[in-house]
Assembly symmetry: D2
Homo-oligomer: 380 residues x 4
Amino acid sequence: MTRRLRLGQVGGGEGAFIGEVHRIASRIDNRFELVAGAFSATPRKARASAEALGVSADRAYDDFRMMAEREAARPDGIDAVSIVTPNHMHYPVAREFLRHGIHVICDKPLTSDLEDARRLAAIARTAGDEAGTRFFVTYNYSAYPLIRQAREMVAKGDLGEIRVIQVEYAQGWLASPVEREGLKQAEWRTDPKRSGDGGAIGDIGTHAFHLAGYVTGLEAEALAADLHRFGPGRALDDNAHVLLRYSGGARGVLWCSQVAVGAENGLRLRVFGDRGGLVWAQESPNEMFFAPLGGAEQRITRNGAGFAAGPIVSARLPAGHPEGYLEGFGALYAGIADVLSGQDAGQADHLPGIADGLRGMEFINAAIESGKAGAAWIGF
Amino acid sequence: MTRRLRLGQVGGGEGAFIGEVHRIASRIDNRFELVAGAFSATPRKARASAEALGVSADRAYDDFRMMAEREAARPDGIDAVSIVTPNHMHYPVAREFLRHGIHVICDKPLTSDLEDARRLAAIARTAGDEAGTRFFVTYNYSAYPLIRQAREMVAKGDLGEIRVIQVEYAQGWLASPVEREGLKQAEWRTDPKRSGDGGAIGDIGTHAFHLAGYVTGLEAEALAADLHRFGPGRALDDNAHVLLRYSGGARGVLWCSQVAVGAENGLRLRVFGDRGGLVWAQESPNEMFFAPLGGAEQRITRNGAGFAAGPIVSARLPAGHPEGYLEGFGALYAGIADVLSGQDAGQADHLPGIADGLRGMEFINAAIESGKAGAAWIGF
Amino acid sequence: MTRRLRLGQVGGGEGAFIGEVHRIASRIDNRFELVAGAFSATPRKARASAEALGVSADRAYDDFRMMAEREAARPDGIDAVSIVTPNHMHYPVAREFLRHGIHVICDKPLTSDLEDARRLAAIARTAGDEAGTRFFVTYNYSAYPLIRQAREMVAKGDLGEIRVIQVEYAQGWLASPVEREGLKQAEWRTDPKRSGDGGAIGDIGTHAFHLAGYVTGLEAEALAADLHRFGPGRALDDNAHVLLRYSGGARGVLWCSQVAVGAENGLRLRVFGDRGGLVWAQESPNEMFFAPLGGAEQRITRNGAGFAAGPIVSARLPAGHPEGYLEGFGALYAGIADVLSGQDAGQADHLPGIADGLRGMEFINAAIESGKAGAAWIGF
Amino acid sequence: MTRRLRLGQVGGGEGAFIGEVHRIASRIDNRFELVAGAFSATPRKARASAEALGVSADRAYDDFRMMAEREAARPDGIDAVSIVTPNHMHYPVAREFLRHGIHVICDKPLTSDLEDARRLAAIARTAGDEAGTRFFVTYNYSAYPLIRQAREMVAKGDLGEIRVIQVEYAQGWLASPVEREGLKQAEWRTDPKRSGDGGAIGDIGTHAFHLAGYVTGLEAEALAADLHRFGPGRALDDNAHVLLRYSGGARGVLWCSQVAVGAENGLRLRVFGDRGGLVWAQESPNEMFFAPLGGAEQRITRNGAGFAAGPIVSARLPAGHPEGYLEGFGALYAGIADVLSGQDAGQADHLPGIADGLRGMEFINAAIESGKAGAAWIGF
């Protein structure tokens, strides 16, 4: 057996959502073992979480700095840390582990503001160049097998020159002011102090933005964003319409919303080139529709006929046995394990890294600026 | 039997598409009989078309002015005229018939430019006020039974206050420059002389714009439109992304495209309020999805459980026997017959009229202006 | 203009459903004009219906025998009669018109029992052989454009040798005993005197049976049918499961039900051969899914890419503008008009005729026999 | 942390499919740790597999009898064994571990013939009664959250009295004789020596049969099965049509096929009662459609509005983030962990056990008998 990588986690204590997702994702392919954590800044909670997770008491920290220091000093110290704190803590935590030569797997968005993001990017690049320490951002949707195939199809020219990109991420769970009713997930997401200046645009818009860029390989050059707050008394945007112009002349619209009643996690991407079009939706991730110019639309299924598993596309199950969100997230962790174990096989070019994290922050920042200026065009 | 109305037609000669659609629509409920026509300005073609359509030779005209004059003079002259010429002829033809007191059923867009539209609107209003002569514009999608139900649901408050409107009309048939390959439908639609200044925005964008307004009852106040021509050498837009702001604070995006490979007639409307959301797609018009806040999404089918046939909503077939485009178009004609026969039953408020036609032209004009100004915001 | 054919109708008076469907179908392509009728055996209703339908008083009959005789005697007598009475009247009415040399368009099932069907078949064959008088049965679903394409694909070998046929027609409208609550459509359909011995199996099972045979070109040789009455006090089957064995070794299941709550007109056909499979559903008739062995599933749309309009496949509208039930029914009438006008173009081989009608009755009869024998196998 | 259960595995060595599925399922919720295994009867492969899986050399066995004996003797011996061998080995392996008081998690079908199944059932019941040793069969589809909800809805009476059950499991991967082309999965599944007398009926038909019974709570009483072999030279059925009669009068059809070209893992269940109907498909497992009598059909999503998580229904992710096959399988393992840890919470009544395994074998046996008798009815 290739040695399982030793993983630590900062954040993700009792009741957290995304921390458990990272843990399952790390476990699903058996490439990591969780051995240390600063699951909470509250000592009692940190210990309880560690115990519940089977992390030994001596590696259950309540201070991420101490964790970084001690783990770096152990011969069996963690190989990588998973950062799943609220956004505003991403920067200080990541910085600390990078400085100790520990690889970082950071949830998105990269930070809570662009300044932090730029600083962190500089640090991460230095850490990478000087010590080979890697930095990953979990834009997990990009690791769905059919999304990776879509990227390969675009790169191969199956769609021809890309013209139009329609991407959306619609949710409805903040249609009512549930943050006032004690829903924790809603509280911090609508709180500028913990989430930064972006609401929907930061929480889900960045996912959509990254996905469009990942699949098409195009760079966004300018945007005009109409941000709005529909929830009464809400401080951050809960709906955003963004016009986009891409390098090479492609045009796009990005819509993200948390007030689209009936929508759950409606992340959907449509890409149209002069030779073909494709459609994929996250809620039904095991199928993709490809229409070649002049031909009938094809339904391509994960591992089915028409699925072209290449080095970066993996799938665990035969066609028709659905893989879901956790398997997609797990593919990110498996790819990270490959890279960190030196079995790269082309993964490194496909795993979201610091540049993607920074670009996402530039997107959020530009959208907010444009929104404040009445949806004026802004280059970024 | 209520007397069938006597119908004439201008345009729609051999090989035309929309002319035949109007004729089938007029025939489907047996409320009209086609008795006269100026199907072509070429005498030979006009006669041949009339004969093929069973119109007697003495009422087959090659000059619409003569037709208006003579039909107005006959005791059994036509009650209404259906205008299905290229867009630039709508104005002179409609004017002529209105002046002779003959009701007009005009295809959309109203005219080829805003000036004509304003003149025609003035004439139509006068004709209505002074002589009771009616003017209808065939925004046919608004007559689909479930669209009419959607309008009623919004009006009743089932969706609460409307917040977000996503409307799109995606086609892919102009992805390649087929207008250079002799495809007639493509030739005139990409020719500014016959279509006016709008390409996709005029041909299909107006449909989407009207549908959104019809269902929500909201007025658009401003837009920012990113219009683009992807087809090589094309003079008119074939893709448009339009941000919209509606009275009352709702925000919307309208996307129309003729280069979305794989799309056929992908007119789709999604409306989200603070109490519910609904989704409808023209290609599957016998079902609509309604998600009440906090409840499971419901599939409402035409004439099925949950279908609330009111005075303006009609459906000929039981649930599960699909009605299509022609039945929807036919519902418009049937409603017009009701109104012209004095059996209104509330139809008049729902049939698209001169104001809708003019508004559509204002929309096209504003979108083009905004597009020229780099997608700047324009009130309209 | 090719002369419109003169059509008469027996049955279909006020309030009837299928009579109006036939009339719209005859009108949609403008190939027929309704000029005579015995719309009811009640003189007052017959006259009122005629008037409402624009049929002149002298051709409004209350006796179908008189109608056949007089129309046959007129120089401008009807070319064809549409029979839309309850099932038990099909035989005597059809016989009468055939004897007078008038073409017959008869609703399905052919008759209410097999004896009548055999007698009628003999008469129709003689009338055809001796006088060229034609007989058509309106298995309307077989005229949907994509169904006709499916038949052509099977005939061409696109699916290879056919192995498995799954066909079903599920409705839910008789889940409750609505026949006791005054619903007329339910009353006669659950009454053996008016419908014959078959309930669901006769009303909708025959449609499914015909469709499977039409598309595959295979002959059913034996069946085992489990018929059941779920509605309290119901005399006829409202659910049937039928195992089928076809010539050449194909196996099938036919399921028809009137108690499948939630189903509307769920007629669905799936055919699998050794080289491909296809799926089509009546409620979404403008698309068909074809999976070639080893390839991705293709979505073939009416008039879209992959649609191979041949001589027998017609479609009025471009892809994406849905045609529905009435257009499909209308295609049957248009084909009949072609045949009767001598413009056959291969239609005659595809229009359901007396043999199909008789075969349907043999199917019903065999299913009932099998059902009585505890779902034993019966050759037919 | 509740102690993770110690798991062993028999079978599942390099290249096996279902063994890895069991392992991921056991890992996903972190309730088991794999510590021992007899992954292969070939010593070299057994060792290599153990090493690849992180199982220490001293607990890597090449003889399942030795494994049972030694693990039973260790103070830290395995709590449970996962049996993922070919079918004909299930009986001897399971017997051995039961005798040593080790809980058994056995893949389906229970055994390769009914005799073994009856013997094993007797042993398992005795082991349960005398030693509290548990036996589970991995009918994994029954653990999908919405399937568990469906069972609860039926039990609560939401569908009323059940009338019709349509269940199918369609695959197309054996349409061609791929077992002759070296496809291992196909080789053993088409070989009576390793699979037993059932082909499709045993491999996938049993899943469908169990699912129908699990959701409806009804007992099948008789069947008539038309089994067929379409693949050239194939010894076992690759398509089966089965009529079913259930206690209480419900009727059903079960269709399973391995030659339905285009189908992947098309397990679909439809249940109709006198008060409602529901539809669920395994390939889209995060949604279920429920039609109440007289109401609009509702789309119920996992963890969405209308989802009634009860004690036996668990779901890890919010609505709209799809869970798939592995999560469903994992729910079975998590439930087993609950039961074995004494945290039952009602799980025990819902986890498939020895009785379900035996019933599945009775179903296969009856279907084969019926098939041989020309699809005659057989009570079972």
